[in-house]
């Protein structure tokens, strides 16, 4: 269950340091005029579901990372433009051969329980992920060893040059620095100890998670006294709570109401393009989906505008490749126009008619259920009968892992580096290549680009990868959604991030 959920959720979170970088504004409304304890207030945040656990290395749920983003730190972290900036590491150097990276840690960093955070903790955290083969072990695929040469210095030795090492080490809190004692006591699943701006005070299952300001935090102290997360699965209720004042912030807004909310000013609702993408995958281990013409026929049969409109009410951008327009790695390529005749012709060429296709979707992500119905009606027009199978997510993941599907729709959230967009999904050895795509050319390019240190050459390699994947219809990409979040007028200093990281460290609450 963890893998895809992790994928989905995983890369979604990120950092702490942006305090310095992005959010310097944050004109905190200081009602009392002085900074006495209790003056900051507690922010009530409504999230769509409950974390499965709070161990950042083991959870794969976005709900967990919505909390953990504010509790943990990584060596580096993405700023508002998703460029990696210093966090626990203040600087780093790379050897001539690109195989040795030396990180210098920040002075005087402490965990929230007051114990010092040293290079040993970094080594322990990374080795835990690698040795226990946890969700994010693949991010350390090229790492040969990690050593602490002194309490302030971490040396990472690689098997091959890894140009996206910083994104791997800091892209989100799934690679956070944890405390050994906290892990060994087992408390990390409910009361994790991190070095971030807030600390978990209380996790009461089924009800709420309370964070308090971490007074040992190395950065600028948060203005809030704490954050209280509640779990509100119904977006209509979450919005009502936001309007009624029980909740100050939520990301669980009814999509159909977001366009109208964006025009209003109370509550404040902002939406930014995200780095997520949603796609349709066809199982190439099954006939006739092993035939590229069948896959291309389906790609031509889809009207992405209609799918996007139905699934996201316009809060998304149609894209035939994975990487969104706001990324430096965006590659403009859209060969599939909605063309029923072309689709029928390709199906004829493949000798396929009267095809019945199983399409697996999940209630966990209702937009897949909605989109599936649109996809079904569009494929009907080219003579393909779609049988929609709606499963709960655990079962969905089991079926996906076992390859028991003709097709499925899902999304990937919060990826940053192109390697994250393509390698695990489309390399023939990729851990998420459940649809069994195999193209030696793509394998070679992906392996090459992974270690290519010349940025221009690397970008070009990924463009070739993108083109080939789209031409082969390995994934049939649909859209990049926007991320919309809303908060009450009392809240200041909050910014919606494209990677969906939820950071409250610069937020102030007027009362």
């Amino acid at each position: 269950m963890s893998r895809t959920r992790f994928r989905l959720a995983g890369a979604t979170i990120a950092l702490m340091l942006a305090a310095a970088a992005g959010c310097s504004g944050g004109e905190g409304v200081d009602v009392d005029g002085n900074d006495t304890a209790g003056a900051g207030g507690v922010l009530n945040a409504a999230i769509g579901g409950e974390p499965d656990q709070l161990d950042p290395h083991k959870t794969s749920a976005y709900y967990s990372f919505q909390v953990l983003e504010n509790v943990f730190d990584t060596l580096v972290e993405p700023d508002a433009n998703l460029e990696m900036k210093p966090s626990l590491a203040t600087e780093w150097t790379t050897s001539e051969d690109q195989l040795t990276w030396t990180f210098t840690l920040r002075e005087g960093v402490k965990f929230s329980d007051g114990s010092p955070l040293t290079a040993e903790d970094v080594v322990y955290s990374y080795n835990r992920i690698i040795d226990e083969k946890l969700n994010n072990a693949y991010k350390f695929g090229t790492v040969k060893s990690i050593e602490a040469t002194d309490p302030k210095t971490v040396v990472v030795t690689l098997n091959a040059p890894t140009p996206n090492l910083l994104a791997n080490l800091g892209g989100f809190k799934g690679v956070a620095i944890v405390q050994k004692a906290n892990v060994e006591s087992g408390e990390i699943t409910t009361k994790p100890v991190g070095s971030g701006p807030f600390a978990v005070e209380n996790y009461s299952s089924g009800d709420s998670i309370r964070l308090v300001r971490n007074d040992n935090y190395w950065g600028e102290k948060p203005k809030l006294d704490g954050v209280r997360y509640t779990f509100v699965s119904d977006p209509t209720v979450a919005l009502q709570n936001l309007r009624g004042g029980e909740v100050h912030w939520t990301d669980n807004l009814p999509p159909q109401q977001v366009p109208a909310l964006l025009d209003g000013d109370d509550p404040t609702v902002q939406s930014v393009p995200s780095t997520d993408y949603w796609y349709l995958a066809l199982n190439q281990a099954r006939k006739p989906y092993d035939d590229v013409n069948v896959r291309r026929a389906i790609a031509f049969a889809l009207d992405r505008e209609a799918i996007t409109k139905a699934a996201k009410f316009g809060l998304a951008t149609v894209n035939q490749t994975a990487i969104p327009q706001n990324s430096a790695f965006y590659y403009e390529y859209a060969p599939y126009t909605h063309d029923v005749n072309q689709a029928k012709q390709l199906l004829d060429q493949a000798g396929v008619n009267g095809l019945t296709m199983d399409l697996m979707v999940t209630n966990e992500y209702p937009e897949t259920v909605t989109a599936a119905q649109v996809i079904a009606s569009q494929l009907e027009a080219v003579g393909i009968t779609v049988e929609i199978r709606t499963l709960d997510f655990a079962q969905w993941l089991d079926e996906q892992g076992a390859g028991k599907f003709d097709s499925f729709m899902l999304g990937w959230l919060g990826n940053i580096d192109p390697d994250e967009f393509y390698y695990a999904q489309h390399h023939s050895d990729g851990t998420f290549n459940f649809h069994e795509y195999a193209n030696p050319n793509v394998d070679r390019l992906l392996d090459q680009a992974r270690t290519e240190t010349d940025q221009a050459a690397r970008k070009q390699q990924y463009e070739q990868v993108a083109k080939q994947i789209v031409d082969d219809a390995s994934y049939i990409y649909l859209y990049n959604p926007d991320v919309a979040q809303g908060w009450s007028k009392q809240v200041s200093g909050y910014e919606v991030r494209t990677d969906r990281a939820i950071r409250f460290r610069d937020v102030a609450l007027a009362r």
């Binding site: 139905a310 209630n363 119905q373 009606s377």
Partner: protein, 296 residues
């Protein structure tokens, strides 16, 4: 034999006359007739296809072109409500059919033979009866996987105990009647006695129970599909439509209103007819209404 037949015809006439006299029952019956017509002919009568997605037409309020408006995918809500009637009827009939056949058979054997068989069967029924209806149905669907067929089976299982109880109660009194003893004394087999002499004499409460159970089976189906455990999209079902319309209550009331009204009218109609039937057939039968209340 001939005497029995005449007797049944007389009873049928009596029932029809009573239904005619009772305006509520008449209304209920008319609604049911409309429901059956729509249920049987829904796909032909519906003005549009149920899966004609047209996102440019999404969330249109009711108009002449779409009397019930369009849903979030631009589909005609009227057509979907009509076609969903078939699902509701189908689930109601099949699941109550399962409950009736299985429940009545178990109740018949339990009541007729008494002894350890009675104890075993009825204690099993008690166990089933102890679960809240919907919880048990959800558990069964969780095991068998969601879908129309499993929903029917689940609801059928859930309503089996009540039929077993009603049947057994009737059998207990009938088996002591003189004509049953007479049949035994002339050497009729047990099966023949149950079929020829016991069953016809406990038919009335079973008919009433069937009619009332139909209402609750349809309601249960709506609840299951509301929870995503019944008919799977894109096929329409009232409960599912209600669920999908839930997020739109403030902007598109018609998404939830019409399927909700359909559920309401159908359940009400079955209840009105069931109540009237009970008054006519079995004025003293209290256990039915008690049992009905306990399943609600």
């Amino acid at each position: 034999m001939s005497e029995q037949t005449i007797n049944h015809e007389g009873q049928l006439r009596r029932v029809l006359a009573a239904l005619r006299r009772d305006p509520l029952a008449l209304t209920g019956s008319l609604v049911l007739v409309v429901l059956v017509v729509v249920g049987v002919g829904g796909s032909w009568l519906a003005p549009s296809g149920i899966n004609e997605v047209n996102v440019d037409q999404m969330l249109q309020p009711p108009s002449w072109a779409h009397p019930f408006g369009t849903d979030e995918l631009g589909r005609d809500v009227l057509s979907r409500v009509m076609v969903a009637a078939r699902v509701s009827l189908q689930v109601g009939l099949v699941s109550v059919g399962i409950a009736l056949v299985v429940g009545a058979t178990l109740g018949l054997f339990a009541g007729y033979y008494r002894g350890w068989l009675d104890n075993v069967l009825m204690r099993c029924m008690d166990v089933l009866f102890a679960f809240p209806v919907l919880l048990l149905a959800v558990a069964i669907v969780a095991v068998l996987g969601p879908g129309l067929v499993t929903a029917m089976v689940a609801i059928g299982v859930v309503y089996t105990p009540i039929f077993a109880r009603v049947t057994r109660a009737g059998v207990l009194s009938v088996r002591e009647q003189v004509f049953v003893r007479a049949a035994v004394s002339v050497g009729a087999s047990d099966l023949r006695i149950m079929r020829r002499h016991v069953l016809p004499n406990i038919a009335a409460p079973l008919i009433v129970q069937t009619s009332l159970s139909l209402a609750f089976a349809i309601l249960s189906e709506a609840a299951l599909s509301f929870l995503g455990l019944g008919v799977q999209p894109p096929d329409p079902a009232w409960g599912r439509m209600l669920f999908d319309g839930r997020g739109f209550v403030t902007d598109a009331w018609w998404l939830g209103f019409f399927p909700g009204a359909a559920i309401f009218l159908t359940v009400l109609a079955f209840n009105l007819v069931g109540d009237a039937l009970r008054d006519v057939l079995d004025p003293r039968q209290l256990t039915v209404s008690e049992a009905r209340r306990s399943t609600a």
